[in-house]
């Protein structure tokens, strides 16, 4: 397969599902079944789901867990956790609240800690400011967040922050989900600078990076490695396994 064909396969994709089965006359029915399944998945799936997986996704997506007030509170918190900066947008710009809603349905062990945590937060806001969290002023919200954003790192801190222990646990969980939700979007990945997941030819760590780290490839190690200029030449060996091409 040459490079052009490789890229074509990758970028366009070819419907080979049924074709490879045609050699097996006895299995024509299976071939037809596969072809049908293929159409079915392509229509709604998009990331290689089996029909059963696709149905599972649809079912979860049709369910609702958080109510409107909970979703509004999550949105405020997500943007406190990840606001827009000069590099990228905010958590809500990256639709993180919707991701959190999906994840609690997908991994139900998140449900109780988040729902209960949101109530804890409203109670705390009511106690301090006689109103719920999202109706508090920005400064009041931050006052509470300051108390729950830093997990204790030693016994002394543990004692000091004991009144907020449940709030700290809740906030840590939401922070984790917010970050994972953000950095798995295009916006987050661009921010992070991940530049992979595309066809390329790996030819080692860039020289300037090696220099910065005070590292270098050893000559005898490099001698073993692929010379990328010969990658498309079909391999041939002598009888002792020495590569000739």
């Amino acid at each position: 397969m040459d490079r052009r064909e490789t890229l074509k396969t990758l970028l366009v994709g070819t419907v080979a599902g049924g074709a490879v089965l045609t050699g097996a006359a006895a299995c024509k029915k299976e071939a037809e079944a596969v072809a049908e399944t293929v159409e079915e998945i392509v229509e709604g799936g998009g990331y290689g789901r089996t029909p059963k997986e696709q149905a599972h996704d649809k079912k979860l997506q049709a369910e609702t867990y958080f109510n409107a007030h909970e979703m509004a509170t999550i949105a405020v918190l997500c943007d406190i956790i990840l606001p827009a900066d000069e590099v990228s947008g905010s958590a809500t710009d990256a639709e993180v609240p919707a991701f959190v809603e999906f994840m609690v349905k997908d991994l139900p062990y998140h449900q109780l800690p988040l729902r209960g945590g949101l109530m804890w937060l409203d109670h705390e806001a009511n106690r301090r400011f006689k109103t719920n969290f999202i109706s508090s002023s920005d400064a009041q919200q931050i006052e509470i967040v300051e108390d729950i954003a830093y997990p204790p790192m030693n016994e002394k801190e543990e004692k000091e922050r004991a009144p907020f222990a449940q709030g700290i646990k809740f906030f840590s969980r939401l922070r984790n989900l917010t970050l994972t939700g953000f950095y798995t979007t295009k916006m987050g990945i661009d921010d992070l600078g991940y530049v992979g997941n595309r066809p390329n030819i790996w030819d080692g760590v860039p020289d300037e990076v090696l220099q910065k780290h005070g590292l270098a490839y050893e000559e005898d190690w490099l001698a073993k490695c692929i010379n990328q200029e010969t990658r498309m030449e079909i391999a041939e060996w002598d009888a002792d396994g020495n590569l000739l091409t």
């Binding site: 399944t37 190690w221 079909i234």
Partner: protein, 572 residues
């Protein structure tokens, strides 16, 4: 219920389409045999865009690739996992054996690590060396020609190292190490631990016109759509079909048992068609089991007849016994030198570019057998879990952990790609008392009696795991890395993972010259039923610290040649 008989009589019926089944189907069909493959899962071709997960982005999955549906995440190419709805297994005496199954054409070869290591001369003769377990009835010299053929057919990169028990092969050149791998080399050398280029069945260079060359996306676990890595479908079954050989695929066909005639010879495979839930039989002159070590044991044990009351070929009562998996334990570290690193595409191949083969002499150690070390890390594509405890490493830098706001984004950028991990994968000693058997009280949704596991690690494996962690720590210290997590304690089995977790389970139909102490002979043929062969990991006498796939394929090739010879001689 009426059992429906397929009209055609095949020369060979192969049960399972993974490494062993694919190789047997290819080799037998190439020599003119009409072959049927019975596969429990659906058809799968990595090139099929509807099934493809390669080159997808995390946001294309609503769960961002979390492992709530597929055991290794949404993008992993295994239909199945440790638990499969409707297909349970049970445990005995507190065992915790984990049984991974992929129900799809190609089986587990679609997602495996592609680590393709030959067993060395010592690996076939362990009893002669340390007095434990048993020797294989064959030696490295018997298998070498087949390893050579597998290398050339499928393609594996590696380097000539002339190590005594890590035989060289016909290698494609390896890729250059990544940055964290260069740090590992530095740390390992300080600790006196050798490092060499890894050996993976990924095409860094063309080997034929029919398969693509690696384009370095690191996603072999998603199965390569241009066939640049080894999967049984893309490299064995499809090419054999394309060449015009007679292979009929029966997919979604769950094998139940092997049917015998009055003489006790196998005549057919009975299976349940998952789509219509009816039972069928498919007749064959030779039956080749390649359903995976435990599935093949299950089929044989369920194949009870007047002639074989204990299960087919089980006069020794050893089917299911000597089940053993690789040992495994891992550790992670934070590499301060990699903080705030420059960005570039370092995806590379799907797996490590370097590894540490076993390097010590057991005479100086308190455990038998060895382990190799696998290395992972780098600036990978984020998926679910990325960003959890994003700045926990600030504690090593004297900075605040947790928090909120713009600082968190700075922390995410700062720590991206600054972690790495190492995994020990070692050889356990095969024990008769570790086994799978038929649970008398349970059937699966197809009415087939299920397996029950009884598996105990011994101190051999625990001490090996302890040694792994000592080594890991020494290497990490040598790198100047901060080791994460505490060293696992004795109570935690020194971090030794539960059996089955490494997914190298073998040994359930072990080969030998003596029918009283083994199930198959040195050609993978049942001692008691000459037209039944087992070509998965079942016939392994011992595991080596090598991943079993390359040896499964070499032995499947060898057994297939033997089958053709025996058929020619009218011996079976």
């Amino acid at each position: 219920m009426q059992i429906i008989e397929q009209p055609k009589v095949y020369d060979a019926v192969v049960i399972g389409s993974g490494a062993g089944g694919g190789m047997a189907a290819k080799r037998l069909s190439e020599q003119g045999l009409h072959v049927a493959i019975v596969e429990a899962g659906p058809f799968f071709d990595p090139k099929n865009p509807a099934q493809q997960t390669q080159m997808k982005w995390p946001w294309e999955s609503p769960r961002r690739g979390a492992s709530s549906v597929r055991a290794f995440g949404d993008f992993d190419m295994a239909y199945g996992g440790w638990e499969i709805e409707g297909e349970p297994y049970t445990q005995k005496d507190g065992s915790e054996f984990a049984w991974f199954r992929s129900r799809m054409l190609g089986g587990r070869t679609n997602h495996w690590g592609r680590i393709s290591l030959r067993f060395g001369p010592k690996d076939f003769k362990r009893k002669s060396i340390d007095g434990l377990g048993d020797d294989w009835p064959i030696s490295y010299e018997d298998v070498k020609p087949y390893y050579d053929k597998v290398d050339k057919l499928i393609g594996v990169f590696g380097s000539k190292e002339n190590l005594p028990n890590e035989p060289d092969g016909f290698f494609l050149p390896p890729p250059k190490p990544r940055l964290h791998e260069l740090y590992y080399i530095k740390g390992a050398r300080k600790a006196g631990v050798p490092v060499i280029p890894s050996r993976l069945s990924i095409l860094t260079k063309a080997i034929s016109k029919d398969r693509g060359v690696c384009f370095y996306c690191k996603q072999c676990s998603r199965s390569c759509s241009v066939y640049a890595d080894f999967s049984s479908g893309s490299c064995l079954i499809f090419p054999a079909q394309k060449a015009g050989n007679q292979i009929d695929l029966f997919v979604n066909a769950m094998a139940r048992e092997i049917v015998v005639n009055d003489e006790g010879k196998a005549t057919a495979v009975s299976y349940i068609n998952k789509e219509d839930r009816k039972e069928y039989t498919i007749r064959g002159k030779v039956i080749v089991l390649a359903a995976s070590a435990c599935s093949s044991a299950r089929i044989l044990l369920n194949s009870k007849s007047k002639q074989h009351p204990n299960g087919l070929g089980n006069g020794s009562d050893l089917i299911g016994h000597y089940l053993h998996d690789s040992t495994g334990s891992s550790r992670m570290a934070f590499v301060p030198q990699l903080v705030d690193r420059a960005r570039y595409n370092e995806d590379g191949v799907g797996g490590m570019h370097i590894y540490t083969p076993w390097w010590l002499d057991n005479k100086k150690l308190d455990f038998p057998r060895g382990y190799h070390i696998e290395i992972w890390g780098g600036m990978g594509m984020p998926s679910y879990g990325f960003g959890f405890n994003v700045n926990a490493m600030n504690k090593y830098l004297g900075l605040k952990v947790g928090g909120y706001g713009e600082q968190l984004k700075k922390d995410a950028r700062k720590f991206y790609g600054a972690f790495m991990g190492v995994s020990g994968r070692g050889e356990s000693v095969a024990m008769k008392d570790s086994y799978c058997e038929i649970d008398p009280n349970m059937v699966d949704e197809f009415g087939i009696p299920v397996l029950r596991f009884h598996y105990k690690w011994t101190d051999f494996e625990r001490k090996q795991a302890r040694h792994m962690h000592d080594t890991f720590e020494e290497i990490f210290h040598g790198m100047g890395a901060e080791i994460l997590g505490d060293k696992p304690t004795k109570e935690q089995d020194y971090g030794l993972l539960a059996p089955g977790k490494i997914i190298h389970e073998v040994g359930t139909t072990r080969m030998g010259n003596n029918p009283k102490t083994s199930v198959t002979n040195k050609f993978n043929q049942l001692h008691e039923v000459d037209n039944v062969f087992v070509v998965d990991g079942g016939p392994f006498v011992s595991q080596a610290d090598k991943n079993p796939t390359w040896t499964i394929m070499a032995l499947a090739w060898r057994a297939s040649d033997y089958i053709v010879e025996e058929l020619k001689k009218m011996n079976i």
